[in-house]
Every structure is written in C-alpha cells, then in structure tokens.
C-alpha cells in the first residue's frame, strides 16, 4: 500500500531525526571572546596585546583561617603553587611564594620570591604578614589589608574555550585539596569561575527546562485534543526539530553559548504552535465528519496559507537578528530561523501521510476547555466590535502611562547579576572585593614611537601621573605600572630608604636598573623593547555601564594629558565588555528595524493593501513597546540575554494576527459581510490562537523558575510579549478593523 509505505518512511525519518544526540557533537563554549566579532578594533588590539602580554582573565582563590602565615600553611601554599603550575594550560600561578619581591639589604639587593621556603626560615611568623603587606604588588592582590586573608591567582594560557577554563578550575581546586588547603578556601572568584558557572547554569537550564516545557506542551495537547497519536507526533516533531537544528552549529563553526542555549526552548514552543494549528484543523475537519486523507487535506488547506505566512514572519523576525554584530546573537537568529522552517516542513510534509494512515478515529469536539475559550473569545470580540472607541482610548491611555517606563531601560550587562545574591560566585566576588581588590581588569596601554621610549624619564613621570590619577578614582582599587618596578629598584638599591621610592632623576640609572632587573614580572607589564607598556587597573564595578563611565573618565584625562610622542589605548576584559554592550544596543536597533521592514514587506505581499499592512504591523509592534515598558518597570536591562527578545516577539506575535486577519479577509473574499466575516474568523481561529498563546505562554513562563537570570528574563519577556500580542489581537484588532473598514458594505 503506497500510502502506508509513505507513512512508514515519514515515521522513520522522524525517528532518525530524533536519534541524533546533537549536544554531544557541539562545542560548548561561553567564553567572552565569543561575544565580539574578530573584526572589532578592540578585539584586534586585544589579540595583538596578548601576543606580548599575558591573559587578564584569571581565577582567584581566597584563603582565610587560623595559622595563615605559619610554616605549615605557607609551605602547603608553595607546594600547591608549584603543582598547579605544572598544568599545560596554566601560564602562571601567582602566590606569595611565586611573586617577585624587590628588596634591599645593608650591602645588597635582590629580586626573590616574596615568601618561599627560604624566606620562611628568615622571617618570624609574627612578622610575615607585615612583610608581605609591605610589598606594593602583593597588597590587595595576594594579602588583605587586614592581614586576615591570603590569595592565589591562577592565570591560564590564552584560552577561548569554557571547557578548558572549567578544566583549569577543577585542576586548581584538586591540587589545593591535595596540598591540604581546602579547609582554608573561602572564595573562588574572577572571570574564570564566573564563566564556568555560566556554563553550568546554561547546561542545567537546557537539561531541565527543555524537557519541562515539552512535557507541559504535550500535557496541554493531550488535554485539548485527547489523541495519543497527536501526543506522540508532538514529541517526535519537537525532538527532530531541536536535534537537527542544533547540528547546524557544527558546519557553521559556532559554539553552543548562553544565547544558543535558548534555542531548544524557543523551537519547542514554536513548533508546538504550528502543531496546534494543524491539530485544530484536524479537529475541525473531524467535526465535519471528514476522515483519512480528506480530513488531513482539509486541515492542511485550512492552515497552509496562514501557517506559511506565520512561519515566514517568525523566521524573518528571527533572521533579523543576523544584523547583530555579536556572533552568538547573529547565529541564534539564523539557526533558529532555520529551525522554525524545519518544524513547518515536518508538519506539512511528514505528518500528513502519518495522520492519513493511522489517524482513524474521530477527534473529540466536546472539550470543555476549548468551549470555554471559544466563549471567552466571542465575548471579547463582541465587546471590541461594540465599543471600538473605548477600546482604543484604553489602549492609548495604557501606552501613555507606560511609555515613560521605556526611558528607564538601561543597556547594561552585569555578568554577576546573572546569578542570585546567594549564589557562590556572587558571595565569592563580594568577599574578594571586600578583603582584597576589585576583580574587573582594565588596562591603559601606552605605546612609544621608538625602542626604549617607555624607559625615558619623561614617559615614566607621565605614567606615574596617570597611575596616580587612576587610583584616585573611586572605581579603581589598584593600579600597577612599570614605574612601581623602577621605584622599587631605586628603593632596594638604597637600603629600602622610603625617600628613594621614587623615579630616579638620572636616565642612566633608570636604564641600569632595568638592565639589572632579573625577574619575570616586569615583562608582564612592559615589553622587552620597552616600547609598549600597560597600566593595570582593578575595578570594583562589574556592569558595562559603570565600566563605560570609568573608560569615559580615563579617556578624557588621557586626551588632555598625553600630548607628546606616546599613544594610548584602553583595553582589557573591561573594555571588551563595554564594547560588547555598544554592539548589543546597535544590534538591537538594527534587528528591530530589520524585523519591521521584513514583516511589513510580507504583510504587504499577503494583504496587497498598504493600510492593512500598516495596521497589522502596528498591532505587532505594540507588544514590543509593552515589552520595553515591562523591562523599564521591572528593571530588566537590555543585555546579552534580552537583546534578541524584540526580534523573537515580533516574529512570533505576528502569527496570531495573520491567522485572525486571514480568516476575516477570506470570509470577505467568499462574499460574507465584514461583520460576519470578522465574527466567523474569531469564532473559528480565535480559540486556536488563544490556545497556542496560552501553551506558549506557559512554556516560556516555566523558564521564570530558573536560578539563572538570563533564562528568567527571556522566559518572562517572551511570555509577556506573546500574551500582550494575543490581547491586542483579540481586542484591539477587531476595534481597529471596525473603525477603519466600511462595515456598511
């Protein structure tokens, strides 16, 4: 039987699509480097900088407790420092036993580790804390101001892979455990653990919320349609769509990031929306006593055109995100748009033979839930038709009250704010900042024109001036520069006389000090050519907005003060983070404009009438406005996680409008009077779009139970946007139709 063969082939195809465990093949990587394009000037500068200087994204471990400066603890720390350093992906481990200390004695001078086993023998336990604190490089970095904490900084090689950073974190903690220091660790902070926690959160959300949202949708489908085949096909279709879509990350060479982790939930919901329309068509056809192929053909005919347009508009909305310069957002748009089309293709091509072959029984039509929904929709439509002006006035008042909230929306990303206040990384970061120094790195890079430009007295004095200015800023907790080394050498060569902790006034002496400096730390701050140097800043702020303020203040200062042959650039993790924010806002605007244009073109092609196209477009921009109002109201920032929501909402929200308006136009085309056509469309499709939105709304609302703020915001805003779009479609659209169409025809 050819029909049966086709059905089996379709079923097999669906099963195969489900058998691909796509996540196993993906590169899971949420490293910050993923969020900026390689063509970005700051990224290119940063890449160039890293060829000469080490990575600034580190892992900080804080130790507290009894006997911190005892032989036992310090020996264990030295041992752990050495064993952690052995890891191939670790560039350096900085602890009191492995940091250069410049010192002077009665007849000598030395650059030695600050507190290694040899020093332990030389300095009494009671004097060690003060000795370590007196080192200007260690204070605030390796020892707390109250002498109650010690720290270790683990610096990886230049890595752009979260899994590698996770490996480093695990290895460091394991070695510290072997050394017997675990009981003294009170905080693990810095960009490395922050990123690994993000990875853990996004994976946990993927494995928790995707099954929950699918299950929730399936339960609702079971309750609404009470058909086992519908439930099974829903599971197979969603599984196939998600698996095959995620595989696209591989040929596109893109990793699975925080942004892409939202694709499974989104696709599960959107595929379910198409399925509901198909099942609703089957239910209606079954009500007309149609069976087998006729029933499926009727259902397909009913949804094909509107579904094609809804899918196309959703894909267009998502595709508009391709305008973003942030790669994960761009590929989120491209890949999820493909997923939406794939879901539609499965529903249109693979499911019909299966339902033709195996869907024999009639679909229940006495569902009280559906009946209730239909009644509510009817009531709302009648109110809107009877009181269109009132509806419009309420809508306008609502917007007027809400719109000022939009100005409260801040474009701001704070990676720490992604986690709850009681999350270990939040607590650890606060502790490090309270006991030591800020953990956000920023650097001012100074370039001279010629070799040894940085050694010049004039340059050193200018660097000192900038460093002093920076440290006076409340956001800057620590500033280090090449000047510190020169001053310490001068001080060390003068028996540690404090009056010599200054830049010497002879050029030759500076040159000779720098010739003689025999450690490694200096070359982490100035290159061997002495042509480029960095002033390293530790900021106590984390949000892109606050970092931007610091960058702005520094820029103003540097513009005025660096006037001679030196050039300056602000770089580092903080700067990249700030740049990312600018791209995020630009991407949001571009994506929104792109989505609006694309959807307008589609609406115009669909309705062939400018006023209608504008009307439907307006109806679908309104939920985006509401979304921004909600963001302002609930202090949700425009950040990495929320940047793509406008595109998503515009794309999805337009579906209901198309279904309802298409029904209205179809009625008119078939000779019905406008009022009758409007009522018929709302009676027939209203309950379906309401059910779809309720299911999607539930699915996205479930994400609000995540412990990870980006997931919560994505779920809340998408659900709110969809429900708003439904309310506008059910109430505002009929009111506007009544006001703009001639109902006397």
């Amino acid at each position: 039987m050819p029909g049966r063969g086709k059905a089996i082939a379709c079923l097999m195809t669906l099963l195969i699509m489900n058998c691909i465990p796509s996540l196993l093949f993906l590169t899971i990587n949420n490293a910050p480097e993923q969020y900026l394009p390689k063509t970005q000037p700051s990224v290119q500068f940063s890449d160039e900088l890293r060829k000469e200087f080490p990575e600034d994204q580190v892992l900080m471990v804080l130790f507290e407790g009894e006997g911190l400066f005892s032989n036992e603890v310090l020996t264990k720390l030295e041992k752990a420092t050495k064993s952690i350093k052995k890891h191939a992906k670790i560039d350096r481990v900085i602890s009191v036993s492995a940091v250069d200390h410049i010192a002077g004695t009665a007849d000598g001078f030395e650059v030695l580790p600050l507190m290694n086993s040899k020093r332990l023998r030389q300095i009494k336990e009671s004097e060690r804390a003060a000795y370590i604190r007196d080192d200007r490089f260690a204070l605030g970095a390796l020892i707390g101001r109250q002498d109650d904490v010690l720290a270790m900084v683990v610096r990886p090689e230049l890595l752009d892979d979260t899994m590698a950073r996770q490996e480093i974190l695990d290895f460091a903690l394991q070695e510290l455990d072997k050394a017997g220091l675990t009981n003294l660790i009170t905080a693990v902070a810095g960009p490395v653990p922050l990123e690994t926690y993000q990875l853990a959160s996004m994976l946990r959300d993927t494995f928790t919320f995707v099954p929950i949202t699918v299950l929730l949708g399936v339960v609702l489908i079971a309750l609404l349609f009470r058909r086992l085949l519908a439930v099974v096909m829903t599971l197979l279709t969603i599984g196939g769509v998600v698996n095959v879509t995620l595989l696209w990350f591989i040929p596109l060479g893109q990793p699975y990031t925080l942004i892409s982790s939202m694709i499974p939930s989104l696709l599960a919901a959107l595929t379910m929306a198409v399925l509901i329309h198909f099942f609703n068509g089957l239910r209606l056809a079954s009500g007309f006593k149609l069976e087998g192929k006729k029933r499926v053909d009727w259902a397909l005919a009913e949804i094909k055109k509107p579904a094609t347009y809804t899918v196309a508009t959703t894909a267009a909305g998502l595709l508009s995100l391709a305008a973003s310069e942030i790669p994960p957002i761009r590929y989120f748009g491209i890949i999820s748009a493909f997923g939406v089309l794939l879901g539609f293709a499965i529903v249109i091509l693979l499911l019909p033979p299966i339902f033709t072959c195996w869907d024999k029984a009639s679909w229940p039509s006495d569902n009280p839930l559906m009946k209730g929904l239909t009644r509510t929709v009817k009531k709302l439509t009648i109110i809107a038709i009877r009181y269109p002006v009132h509806v419009l006035v309420v809508f306008v008042i609502g917007l007027v009250i809400g719109i000022p909230q939009i100005f409260n929306v801040k474009a701001e990303t704070n990676l720490l704010a992604f986690f709850a206040d009681d999350h270990p990384i939040t607590i650890a970061t606060k502790k490090v900042e309270e006991k030591l120094t800020g953990v956000t790195p920023l650097e001012i890079v100074i370039d001279g024109e010629k070799r040894d430009a940085i050694k010049q007295l004039e340059s050193l004095q200018l660097i000192k001036k900038i460093q002093t200015h920076a440290i006076e800023m409340p956001e800057v907790e620590k500033a280090q520069s090449v000047v510190d080394f020169v001053e310490d050498m001068h001080w060390g060569f003068h028996e540690e006389d404090p009056s010599y902790r200054v830049i010497p006034d002879q050029q030759n002496l500076v040159n000779q000090y720098l010739l003689l400096y025999d450690g490694n730390d200096l070359y982490e701050i100035v290159n061997k050519e002495f042509k480029r140097t960095r002033i390293l800043l530790n900021l106590n702020v984390h949000s892109s907005r606050d970092i931007r303020k610091v960058v702005k203040k520094l820029t103003e200062y540097l513009n005025v003060n660096i006037t001679h042959d030196l050039k300056w650039t602000i770089s580092g993790y903080g700067k990249l983070f700030e740049d990312q924010e600018i791209l995020l806002v630009e991407g949001q605007v571009n994506s929104l404009v792109g989505a609006v244009i694309l959807i307008f073109v589609m609406m115009f092609l669909l309705w062939r009438k400018l006023s209608t196209a504008l009307l439907t477009l307006f109806l679908n921009l309104a939920p985006v406005v509401v979304m921004f109002i909600l963001m302002g109201l609930f202090s949700i920032w425009l950040d990495m996680a929320t940047a793509m929501i406008a595109g998503v909402i515009v794309g999805i929200a337009v579906d209901d409008t198309i279904h309802l308006f298409h029904g209205f136009q179809d009625g008119i085309k078939h000779g019905a009077k406008p009022l009758r056509a409007l009522l018929k469309s709302y009676y027939q499709s209203g309950s379906a779009v309401t059910v779809t939105t309720i299911i999607l709304g539930f699915q996205f609302s479930v994400l609000c139970f995540s412990l990870f703020q980006p997931t919560v915001h994505f779920g809340f805003l998408t659900a709110a946007g969809l429900i708003t779009a439904l309310i506008f479609d059910l109430i505002l659209m009929p009111a506007l139709i009544v006001m703009t169409f001639s109902f006397n025809k």
Partner: protein, 273 residues
C-alpha cells in the same frame, strides 16, 4: 717480597683501577670529564651579547669577560659591559666555591655603588637575557645525578646525550638538563633546560661555532632560545686569551666598582674593535 704481598698488592691495584667503573657510572664519568674540560687556568675574552626578539632590531651589548680557576671548585669571573653607552662599565663579579653558595656583586655606574646580589637567585635572568645567573655560575657535577640517554649527531658532530637532574631540587633553577656532549671536545653542543618537572624544555642552548684557541676548545658562538616566547640570546666571542696569569685581586669588589682598575688587566689583543 712475599707472594702474598704481591697478591695483595695486585688485588689492591686491580681494585684501584677498577674503582671508577664500580664507583661511578659512565654518565658520572662523562659529567666529570665535562666539568674538568681543559679551559686554561684563566681566560679573558671580548664579545657581544645579542638579544633577538622577532620583529625587532637586535640589541647588541659589548662586554669583556674574565675567568679564573682558583682551585678545582673555586671559580671566579668578572663581566664588564662596554656598550651601549648608557650601561657602559656596569659589571658583575661572581665568586663560586664549593664551601659556600656563589657570591655575586653588581656595580651600577649610575649609582656608583656595588651591591651584592642574592646568591639564591639562580633563576634570575642575567641583564634581561635568556641566560640565568645559574648559567654563569660554576656548577659542580657532583650536585647532579647523571644518566646517559644515548648518542646522536648535532650539526654533523657525534655527541653523547647526558641527562642531569639535581640531587637537591632547591639548589638549581632547573629540574633537569639534557646535554648533547661533543665526544672529542667535551663541549655541550646542545642543552635543553627543564623547569618545575615539566615534560617539555623551557629553553635550549645551541652551540653554533667552536674553535681551538691556544690548544683549548672554545665556544665562539652560541644561542639560547626561550622556547616559550621565542626570545633569543646570542653570545659571540670575538677574541679570547688563555693563561695570561690574571691576578687574584682583579676579582674583587674594589676592581668591580672602579672600572679603571680593571682596564689595566685588559689584554691589548682583546680591545674592542
């Protein structure tokens, strides 16, 4: 002489000549031979230290270098920079002895003062080069455990591969050294240096040019490469003189801080050209 006396003497003689075989392995014998390689009672040279970083013009420093073997394990050396101008007369004096740790002093003309450098700073980079202070010191072969790893050719010359691991981990900047010893000259043609028990070397010395001067094998050019950064230090010897009878008082702090007292010891043949 009684036969028993003969026999016992013969036994003792046999034991004595076989002692090195039983007491030391081939590797230790080789290490000892390398340590004792003839290089004169004293030596003086003029040469250049060239620092090479990819993409940049090399930095060239001129310097005189003097060395004297006071005894089997007591070795003295003095280095005096002559160029570039801003570091001219900067000097380093090193007195190595078996009895105590190396003693090192540095003289900075800008400060006009001599300061002692901590002897434990073995891993410190000498004047920003890839040469560590330990590389400038006389390290007794008995401080390491040695092992012959095999034979290989380096620049077409036959060499024995010798692995040396410090007996006490904290008395060396290196956790291991692997040297390719030229069989006839006993010069290490290539050395790979390991740190912190790593499996990959952190730097490599390659001898580019050797020559026999006054009957002593002399390294005329060598390159030390930092395998991590690619930074190179090339040491070039332009002129060398052995066995001039350098005075003991040349290797003193007084001479170090008074370059004029050292210049009188500079052989005319070595003068910078």
């Amino acid at each position: 002489m009684k036969p028993t006396q003969w026999l016992s003497r013969l036994f003792l003689f046999g034991w004595f000549i076989s002692l090195p075989v039983f007491a030391a392995s081939d590797a230790e014998v080789l290490a000892k031979r390398v340590y004792e390689r003839p290089d004169g009672d004293d030596r003086a040279s003029f040469g250049y230290m060239v620092l090479v970083e990819e993409g940049h013009k090399p930095r060239v420093r001129g310097m005189f270098s003097y060395g004297k073997d006071k005894s089997y394990s007591d070795v003295w050396s003095l280095i005096r920079f002559t160029s570039p101008k801003d570091i001219a007369n900067t000097g380093l004096l090193t007195l190595d002895s078996e009895a105590k740790d190396s003693e090192q002093w540095v003289y900075l003309p800008g400060l006009d003062r001599v300061r002692r450098i901590s002897s434990s700073r073995k891993g410190g980079r000498f004047v920003g080069s890839d040469i560590f202070y330990e590389d400038l010191q006389n390290r007794l072969y008995t401080k390491d455990n040695h092992k012959v790893l095999g034979k290989a050719k380096v620049n077409k010359l036959d060499a024995i591969i010798l692995e040396s691991i410090p007996k006490k981990a904290d008395d060396s900047a290196y956790s291991k050294k692997v040297s390719w010893i030229h069989e006839s000259s006993l010069i290490a043609l290539k050395v790979e240096y390991y740190q912190d028990g790593a499996t990959k070397p952190m730097k490599r010395l390659i001898v580019n040019k050797i020559n026999k001067t006054q009957g002593y094998w002399t390294v005329l050019e060598s390159t030390v490469t930092d395998l991590d950064s690619g930074h190179k230090t090339i040491m070039k010897v332009k002129n060398v003189l052995y066995d001039q009878g350098l005075a003991d008082d040349m290797f003193t702090v007084q001479v170090l801080e008074d370059p004029s007292r050292e210049t009188k010891y500079r052989p005319k043949q070595l003068e910078q050209k």
